[in-house]
Amino acid sequence: MVVKVNKLVKRYKDLIALDHFNMEVKEGEILGLLGPNGCGKTTAINCILSLLNFDKGEIQIFDQKMTPNSYEIKKQIGIVPQEVSVFDNLTVKENIDYFCGLYIEDKHLRKQYVDEAINFVGLKDYLKFYPSSLSGGLKRRLNIGCGIAHKPRLIFLDEPTVAVDAQSRNFILDGIKRLNKEGSTIIYTTHYLEEAEMICNRIIIMDKGKNLVSGTNEELKSMITTTEKIVAGFSDIDEEKVEQMRKLPHVIDLVKREEDYIIKFENGINNLSNLLEFIKDNQLTYTKLYSQLPTLNDVFLELTGKELRD
C-alpha cells in the first residue's frame, strides 16, 4: 500500500475537520479526493504529509509511519500545493532547478530531470521568465513542474486547476495522466467532479471531514437509486401535466430548475421513449429533451442531500 490512513481525527478547537477519516491508496492509482470546499481535503493531505498535527489516527506511507523526520519517505514524494508556491525572484528554470535540487544531488541527473520537467509542463519558451510575468495558467504549470521534477513515486496534487483557463486545465489534466502512466501514484484533490470523473481510477467522496463513499466512478454511481436523468423544457405545460409526468413509470423525482424540468428515474430502460409517448399523447411542445447518466454530483446529492457545488 502506498498510503494508508486509519481513523484520522483532526480538530480545530470545537470544529472537527477530519472525523475518523480513512483512506487507502494502491501503487499506480490516481485517487481522487472529491468534496465541497471546506470538507477537509487539504487538511487530510496536510496531516498525511506531517505538516499538521492530528488528534488521533495512524498514517503510513510506503508501509512506514510518516513523521516530520521521515526524510527517506519524503524523498519519494512530490507535492503541488493549492497555491502557487515558487520564488518570485527566481526564473522559471531556476525555480524548477532549486526544488529539484532539494531531492536530487547529482548535478547531471538533476539537469536531465529539470529539462524533462520543463518540457513536461511546456515552459520551454519561458525559461528566463519570472513568475510574476507568467499568466495564471503558466504559473500553475510552473507550480507543477517544481513539484514533479524529481520524478516522485507519490504525488499529491491539491486542486491544481483552480482558476485556470480551459486550455491550461486540459494541459494539466493530460499531464497528470502522463505522470501516472510513467509510474507515479497520484492523490488528486478537487471539487470539480468532471475532473475526478475524467482522470481518477478511484474516488473518495468527502463531506464534513468524513469519507462518505469510495470506489470507481461506476461503482459510486451504482450505489444510488437514480440511474437516469432526463432534462426537458416545455413551451406549454401546466401543473396538472407536470403531476401526470411525475407519475410515469420509474420516476423517482421531478424538480423544476429555471425553465427546465429534471426528471430522475430509478431504472435506465425505455424512460426516454415513455416520456416521448407522454408528450405526444398530451400534445405538448418541448423545447429541449435529453437524457443524462447520473454524475458524481448526483451521488453526492443523494448521499448528503446537497449539491457538491453548494
Binding site: P68, N69, S85, N89
Partner: protein, 351 residues
C-alpha cells in the same frame, strides 16, 4: 555541504533580486546619507576647533588636560568658571575631584565627558597618573575631520548594519509551513530546517555586508566623508550589527503569523526608532537621553554600535569596546534562543 552552498546561492539570488531588499538595504541608506549630507552640509566637514575647558588650578589633572590637543585649558576658579560658562567662553569646568559642570548639552560637552571618563577609567586601574599616556590624542590622531554631526552618519551605519533583519524575516517565512506556501513545500522536502536556515542566514549575511560596503564606499568616495580610522574594530561592530539584525529578523519572523510585509514594517519601525534614540535625526536627542536615561544607550543596540564607532574612530578609544561587543553578543544569543523556541516545532496545529 554542496546542498548548503546551493541553497545559499539560490536564496542569495532571490534576495538580491528582491525589490524590497534593494530599496531598504541599498537605496534607502544611500538616500538617507545624501539627505543628511545635504541637510547638514553647512555644518559637516567644518574643521574642528579646540574645546575650551575650565580646570581648577589646584587640580592634580591639569597637566593631563594640557597634554590633550583638542582641549584648550583655562586654569580658573569655580567663580570665574561660572561667569565663563554663562558667557560661553568655556564649554565645561572640571574641579579637583573631576566633577564636570556644563551649562548645556552639546557635542563639545560630550567630548569633555568622554575624556573625563577615560581618565577615571585609567585611574580605576590603579595606574599612577604619571604613567598615563599623555600623548593620547582623544579625537583625531589620524587626520580625521572632526565633523560635528558625524554621529548621524555613525547612527546611519549602525542602523543599516542591522538591516539583515529583512533577510531574517524572509528566511524564517520561507521555511515555516504556517507562514508561507513555499514553507509547505520546504517542509515536505527531505531538507532539515536548520540547514535551510543556516544557508538562508549566510546568504543574507553576505548580501547585507555587501549593501553595507556599498553605503560605506558611497560615503567615502562620493560624499568624501572620512569616517573610519580604526577599520578593524569598526568592522567588528558592523558585522555584529549584521548578526544582530539577522537574529532580530528571525525572532520577528518566527514569533507571529502576520504577513511578511507587516513584519517588514515592524522591522523598519523598530530599527528607525532605535536609530532615532541613537541620535540619527538629531545628535541633541542622544545627548539629552544620555543625560536623562543613561542606561538607554547601553541597552539600545544601535546606540551601542553608534557610540562605539564614535569612540573608536573619533576619540580613538578602543580599550572599552568589549562592553559593547558583549552587549550585542548577548542580544544575538537571546534572540536566537527565542527564535529556536518558535522554530523547533515541525508540525503545526493549523496552517
Amino acid at each position: 555541504m554542496s546542498r548548503l552552498i546551493r541553497n545559499c546561492i539560490y536564496l542569495g539570488k532571490n534576495t538580491l533580486r528582491d525589490k524590497t531588499f534593494f530599496f531598504w538595504s541599498i537605496l534607502y541608506p544611500i538616500l538617507m546619507a545624501i539627505f543628511f549630507y545635504t541637510a547638514f552640509s553647512g555644518i559637516v566637514n567644518q574643521e574642528f576647533e579646540p574645546v575650551d575647558l575650565g580646570v581648577s588650578p589646584d587640580s592634580y589633572f591639569v597637566s593631563i588636560f594640557e597634554e590633550i590637543e583638542i582641549l584648550n585649558v583655562h586654569e580658573i576658579t569655580e567663580e570665574e568658571a561660572n561667569e565663563k560658562l554663562l558667557s560661553d567662553e568655556i564649554y565645561g569646568y572640571v574641579d579637583n575631584d573631576l566633577n564636570l559642570t556644563v551649562k548645556e548639552s552639546g557635542l563639545n560637552q560630550t567630548i569633555i565627558k568622554q575624556i573625563l571618563d577615560q581618565i577615571v577609567q585609567v585611574g580605576g586601574l590603579n595606574v599612577p597618573v604619571e604613567q598615563v599616556d599623555m600623548m593620547v590624542d582623544y579625537t583625531i590622531s589620524n587626520n580625521q575631520n572632526a565633523d560635528t554631526l558625524i554621529i548621524i552618519f555613525y547612527t546611519l551605519i549602525a542602523m543599516v548594519s542591522t538591516y539583515g533583519v529583512f533577510t531574517g524575516i524572509e528566511t524564517v517565512s520561507l521555511i515555516q509551513a504556517n507562514l508561507s506556501e513555499i514553507g509547505k513545500r520546504m517542509n515536505i522536502a527531505p531538507l532539515r530546517k536548520s540547514d535551510f536556515i543556516i544557508s538562508g542566514l549566510v546568504g543574507g549575511f553576505i548580501m547585507n555586508v555587501i549593501s553595507n560596503t556599498l553605503l560605506l564606499l558611497f560615503m567615502h568616495f562620493i560624499l568624501k566623508l572620512n569616517l573610519f580610522t580604526e577599520f578593524k574594530y569598526s568592522m567588528l561592530f558592523i558585522l555584529l550589527g549584521n548578526l544582530f539584525g539577522l537574529s532580530l529578523g528571525m525572532m520577528i519572523g518566527s514569533s507571529n503569523k502576520k504577513s511578511t510585509n507587516v513584519k517588514t514594517l515592524i522591522a523598519v519601525a523598530v530599527t528607525l526608532f532605535l536609530s532615532f534614540l541613537s541620535g540619527m535625526m538629531s545628535p541633541d536627542i542622544k545627548i539629552i537621553l544620555d543625560e536623562k536615561i543613561p542606561i538607554l544607550a547601553k541597552v539600545n543596540p544601535i546606540s551601542v554600535i553608534t557610540d562605539n564607532l564614535y569612540k573608536i574612530n573619533l576619540l580613538g578609544i578602543t580599550d572599552d569596546i568589549y562592553e559593547g561587543l558583549g552587549a550585542i553578543s548577548i542580544y544575538i544569543i537571546v534572540l536566537n534562543l527565542i527564535s529556536y523556541g518558535f522554530l523547533r516545532r515541525k508540525s503545526y496545529d493549523s496552517i
